[in-house]
Point group: C2
Amino acid sequence: MTIRKQLPAGDPRPYHHGKLAEALVDATFDIVREKGIEGVSVREAARRVDVSSSAPFKHFKNRADLMLAVVDKAVESLRIAVEASFLSQSDPLDCVRAAGDAYLAWSYAHPVHMQIITASCASLPRSADAQHQIDEMTGYWFAWFGAAASSGALRGDPDPSIAAVASGAQLYGLSSAFAEGRCVSPAMAADPLATMKSAFALHLANLRS
Amino acid sequence: MTIRKQLPAGDPRPYHHGKLAEALVDATFDIVREKGIEGVSVREAARRVDVSSSAPFKHFKNRADLMLAVVDKAVESLRIAVEASFLSQSDPLDCVRAAGDAYLAWSYAHPVHMQIITASCASLPRSADAQHQIDEMTGYWFAWFGAAASSGALRGDPDPSIAAVASGAQLYGLSSAFAEGRCVSPAMAADPLATMKSAFALHLANLRS
């Protein structure tokens, strides 16, 4: 079999043949990057992947349906980044630190994804699957603080749920505020990711007894 | 002068006479509450205050203009709530605590306003005046941590800017996540404001040397 046979010249199939849904979701991330979430429409996504404005409706019956798939993709990307981070850790607060740093690095590298996650904490709906993935990550988080409290690792012996909420909000606040780089003091702008990691490290160092 | 003369029966003036701009902004907060920011249009705001769809254009030339005024109102409301909170404090970390608690109480009482503030950290533009008010609050915040560091009040003698960023992100994360009540563990749902204040208190207690 020749290369020419595998990729026949003049093949009329568009590059997204069989992957139109994925191509539309990817195009939507581009739209959000350029115009914000409000700029998204199924028609615009179709235009960007060069299909007719009716073609997307086989996969997404409306804008809300498309946005559900976009939230799914953002949540899955976050889960994969975080899941890989703490496997080599055993101490629960080391797991918190590793997962937190992974979350910050992910949000800094994927500001549009983070913007989608932020919106899905407010007005943008999540699918049952996305909610399940978020719940699973939240479950780990609370379990680590519970384990840390049991072994006396938290300074002043606080309610571990409060420590988990504080630390989760810390991460969420750092990454969502930095996602668009606007809620940042000019003094911090030189290396935002280093600043985010230092702030989280300070919070966490102070939590340890 | 009789009461009847002050409020003549059958006065044909609409309630927003002379205050149409304000009425449109208030109506927009209602739209955001019901439909999210994406649901806002000048036409819909006009419909809600019962004026013709062309009437608003004397005040707001388009949707973006209307949203600028909405962000202005949200930021001003936050500034007033925070400004009143720390006047009786002298210790810088007591100022941080008072301003932080005021911010949390405000965001909990005004979730739609907080949603607008959150969006103005991402894709929603701010007027120069709103940005100035935010910058002023940020200035106070960093100054308090600078003063606390100078008097040795911060545990482990951290960079005061990092402590300020961590504590600001803590507040921002707590209040924006709670603003719509979705990024909350079920265990925390009983009294969200108490949980938010406890989490911030824990963060701050750990910062003190």
